[in-house]
Symmetry: C2
Subunit: 646 residues, 2 copies
């Protein structure tokens, strides 16, 4: 909820002395901004992207925004619990006091950016090592010159590399060797991935070792270009998944390609072209050559993964919804083909189940839930939601078929979260909607839908079962009650009158829309409850519930709890961890240890198929209601809604 | 030299009793033909192709044709020395007595044909095992059916194969699995090469496991389709190498593609298209699917090898003539692409040196010179001749740049060994030429050239230095002397008068032609002598000189000795061993042990670069002369020539 105004931050010296330097900043600015405004020394080595530890600080008092994924990755879970934060990631909510700290000695700590020596950088606690598997060896190789005991060009090149690489070399490399070897009289850069030679170039080209991490989602594709030696992010690219024209959600995408090889080819061409375009674009933006992109990590749900490889998705869409392949995969770029170095290694993370894909695996990697002492849950809200729950001792996962309501589909005035979408709703004497881009309202997006329902329950516009109560409209403030009406197709609630709307008609939420939202949110909620049930744990046992994925960023967490999309945990135990799938892909890109870890981890994750579980039906029906079993407490709910809106 | 008439063969019973059964057969027929005519029990399990031992016999008296490659391969070198032979390979030269033997127990013996159980067959002495590395596993695989603990299609397929194959599976196989797995409710044939899965097919397709062996020569390409389980040869294909239009001999082929990537692509397309055509043709002839061809072994000289792979040959043509790659190579057919099973394994044998290629390596394999107790030499006569010499203790190799004279190039009336080519020459009171196809003479081929020179020296038409002696023509028989004349460009000798020729002019051999032949034959001869010199051995130490390659089949060995193309060894120590390169390729196709052996062997072979050797110039000049240092002994030489012609 955008809110203007100033907020005060006081900086305490690291020696603990009480010489406080105070500054007032715009609400929404970061602690780093505040430190810079206050003239307090706080570095931003990575450019304020949450990729280094140079702006580390400790919150001594006051409220700040929830810890992000970057906080946890850079500082470790324990420090975050102790209210250490990255200044660049943290926004003050109330007046607060902060101690800006000199970064811990960089040696021995993780650096995802160019701040430290490659390879030696290890993430504190989490044990992250920068080791992409790609190495560029600058060598001076002999050119064969003995007629009697002739060595081959290749043998001379291999002999110059230490440690000795695999003798089996891809054809494309063989084809380059004779010329590259002689361009600079034997001075060569030999690129290896693990033990395999994947490129040779004349001269010293050791600086140029790049990789890309892609998260191919049903809705969108995002990618980043990274320097493999320094971990620096050089460019970010992304767009809507161009396959969307063949079906917006996962099941319709699968249905399109099912039993039809040609349609699979069509879908595949769309995603390959897009990824190839992104490689080109990212490299152009960063001023590097796609021929120097040597490793590409791809994550995505099972359908996106299979389509990317050209593997039949027919049976992913039929019970028991098993993937065709689930192991981690490494293929040469030329085989797909991706237009990077011809022998760039394209690595796909492993898959847990048909609807718990490589993207979820990447989220697990990124959130380190597999190393957690405490029980935690990871929730990716989407058309198909995924829930992972557990700790280092046991991990379970399920998929929750929420359907596309949260993306605005099947909602009368539903739309994606774009310009003109209602994204938050406040109800007092009347209804006040926040619209993306401050434009006239054209419709409502998923986060707006959640917020609207939460506030409508809170205001008594509808009851906890989701039923609108037009007959009780006189109990509502007049302006609110005027919005609740009955039409030929049932009850509806006007969020924005046509005079203020951007589409010449009232923007309403219908009784049917509410039912769609209830189905969607109950699916996610039931997934969480089901895993709790199977693991035998209650809400109190969950130390943290982490929201990830693009959607999680936009929802009002209090509203999500109110409508029972999320369980009623203390607010500080629900965190938003960003695009963890993409971050996991980046980790696997920069660290073979992480990539290999995923191969082991996947066998530890127990998949729970919701639909086949005997208790699921009851949990799902119970989950349809808003505001828990304590139904019909409008005053309390309204209070909650107001405090959330505040 | 074709000679008609009958020859008598007596068959002695295997118990050594003297009950001889005699039969008279056409000269040129085999001992197997004789046995069948005589009603003597002699099997031909392999169809008289020298690929089994069922017609094994021992020559007790009389002369027979020299032992072939097949004799040596099937019986081993020792038995051949003791005059054991294969009946199907052996033709009586004089009346002889033969003991037909029951084949040695087949168990434990080599079978290159369908006669015995696959895998258990071991070649006697030589240790040949039928083990192509390709295995077809007929399995019943589960189709994933558990929603909770989902296995993937691939995991189920791999779990059904014993021993467990490599989990890394080619993309093309992944793409086939979902459908093939379900076509016959999980009944599958999984094909592996060593530990790698290379194909899956619904149902039981275990019968269909084929491979091809190719010898890609500068001049011609030959290939055979074989059953990998039985070793049976199913089809043979071959033609002139279509690259010939870009240069007939090796050096001009290299020169064409040197420093010009596009021309390399052109050459490569020619050979790939040809090989793909042969795969299609051979499979059509045998009624099998190219999709069931799982292993392809390719041998060829370094230039052909590199061009086949698309590797630059520029530096193969420049001192020190080193190959770009020399290790054995295995690539997937789809990478080249060859149109066999997409993951058929294309195996190229290793290379010794720029001009001692994978074809020579195959000859070494096939002749088992590396296992020989006695010193032996292997000579492949061609535009570029190769010589390998040694025993199990030490092996040396060199290449002898003979040039194209022996293929009829740079010879005024030279031509390939085709219809109308003079292939043998006899001189008595006049000159008598044997012409291929009994057609009117159109020119002279390499074997005819050798024979003509030998006979001309023998008859005194020219001296041992190769100089024609028109002024001494009155010492020759009148009809012969009339053929020796001087023209504006020097002396020449008419082999066929225009009245009998097929081209409206005299077919002659010029002084220049003789010089070209001398350069060519001295190159080969000097190679042999040089290796003897480096190894410190004389003619008496050479237990055998084996001629291989297409050309070796046609030359008159006595004439080759007379002109000092070959050293003066006792006649029975010079043998023709057939297309050993192709046989070696077949061995590597049918036996991984043989293929891997080549990888080890290549490091044991010492390469001697003739041109850089200080003694080479003298040896080469000395080698120009005919009939050794004992120059000018026309009577003796004539005697030799006559006995050879008899």
């Amino acid at each position: 909820m955008p809110e203007s105004g100033l907020v005060e931050v006081g900086f305490v010296a690291p020696d603990g002395g009480r010489a406080v330097r105070r500054v007032r900043i715009e609400r929404g600015a970061s602690l780093l901004d505040a430190a810079q405004a206050a003239g307090v020394g706080m570095d931003a080595t990575c450019g304020a992207r949450g990729r280094c530890r140079s702006c580390r600080c400790k919150i001594l008092s006051g409220d700040v925004s929830p810890a992000t994924m970057q906080d946890t990755l850079q500082l470790g879970h324990e420090e975050v619990q102790e209210r250490f934060r990255l200044g660049c990631q943290t926004r003050p909510v109330t007046a607060c006091e902060v101690m800006a700290l000199p970064p811990k000695s960089e040696a021995g700590h993780q650096i995802l950016t160019g701040a430290g020596p490659a390879g030696a950088a290890v993430m504190d606690g989490a044990g992250f090592t920068l080791d992409s598997g790609v190495k560029k060896h600058v060598v001076v190789s002999n050119i064969p010159r003995e007629e009697h005991h002739q060595t081959s060009d290749l043998a001379e090149v291999l002999a110059a590399v230490d440690p000795p690489p695999d003798r089996r070399v891809p054809l494309a490399v063989m084809r380059k060797i004779p010329q590259e070897l002689r361009k600079r009289r034997g001075a060569l850069t030999v690129t290896t991935f693990n033990r395999q030679v994947i490129d040779v170039e004349a001269g010293d080209a050791s600086e140029h070792a790049y990789g890309m991490a892609f998260d191919i989602g049903t809705t969108s594709i995002v990618g980043t270009l990274m320097h493999l030696e320094t971990g620096e992010e050089l460019a970010a690219v992304g767009s809507v998944n161009p396959q969307t024209v063949y079906g917006g959600d996962l099941m319709s995408r699968i249905a399109y390609a099912q039993f039809d090889e040609k349609k699979l080819v069509t879908l595949r061409a769309k995603v390959l072209n897009a990824v190839n375009g992104f490689i080109k674009e990212a490299c152009a933006n960063a001023g590097v050559s796609p021929g120097h992109v040597y490793k590409i990590v791809v994550v995505g749900n099972t359908c996106m993964h299979h389509v990317f490889l050209g593997v039949d998705v027919t049976y992913v869409g039929l019970a028991p919804y098993a993937p065709a392949v689930s192991d981690g995969i490494v293929v040469a770029a030329g085989e797909l083909p991706l237009k990077a170095a011809p022998n760039a290694q394209v690595c796909l993370l492993p898959i847990v189940a048909g609807f718990v894909g490589a993207d979820t695996m990447a989220c697990v990697l990124a959130t380190r839930i597999h190393e957690s002492g405490a029980l935690r849950a990871l929730v990716d809200i989407g058309t198909n939601g995924e829930v992972v729950m557990g700790s280092k001792d046991r991990l379970m996962a399920c998929s929750a078929p929420a359907g596309p309501a949260l993306e605005g589909a099947q909602i009368r005035h539903g739309m994606r979260g774009a310009m003109g979408a209602i994204e938050d709703v406040r109800i007092d004497d009347d209804v006040h909607c926040g619209v993306i881009g401050q434009a006239p309202a054209a419709g409502i997006c998923g986060s707006g839908l959640i917020d609207a329902c939460a506030k409508m329950v809170g205001a008594g516009v509808m009851d906890a079962s989701g039923r609108m109560r037009p007959r009780h409209r006189d109990r509502l403030p007049a302006a609110v009650g005027a919005r609740l009406r009955t039409t030929g197709t049932g009850a509806e609630f006007v969020l924005v009158w046509d005079a203020d709307a951007g589409k010449g008609e009232d923007v309403t939420l219908t009784q049917g829309d509410v039912r769609q939202l209830q189905l969607a949110k109950s699916a996610i909620y039931s997934g969480i409850v089901m895993l709790q049930r199977v693991m035998g744990i209650g809400d109190a046992d969950l130390a943290e519930l982490m929201l990830c994925g693009g959607f999680g960023n936009y929802i009002n967490i209090e509203s999500a709890v109110t409508i029972r999309l999320l369980p009623r945990l203390p607010r500080d135990r629900i965190t938003y961890v960003g695009n963890a799938a993409h971050l996991g892909a980046q980790m696997a890109l920069l660290s073979e240890r992480e990539r290999i870890r995923a191969e082991e981890l996947v066998h530890r994750i127990e998949h729970v198929a919701l639909a086949t579980h005997p208790e699921f039906q009851d949990i799902f029906v119970d989950g349809m209601a808003f505001e828990g079993p304590r139904s019909d407490r409008p005053e309390r709910a309204a209070g909650n809604a107001r405090s959330a809106a505040g």
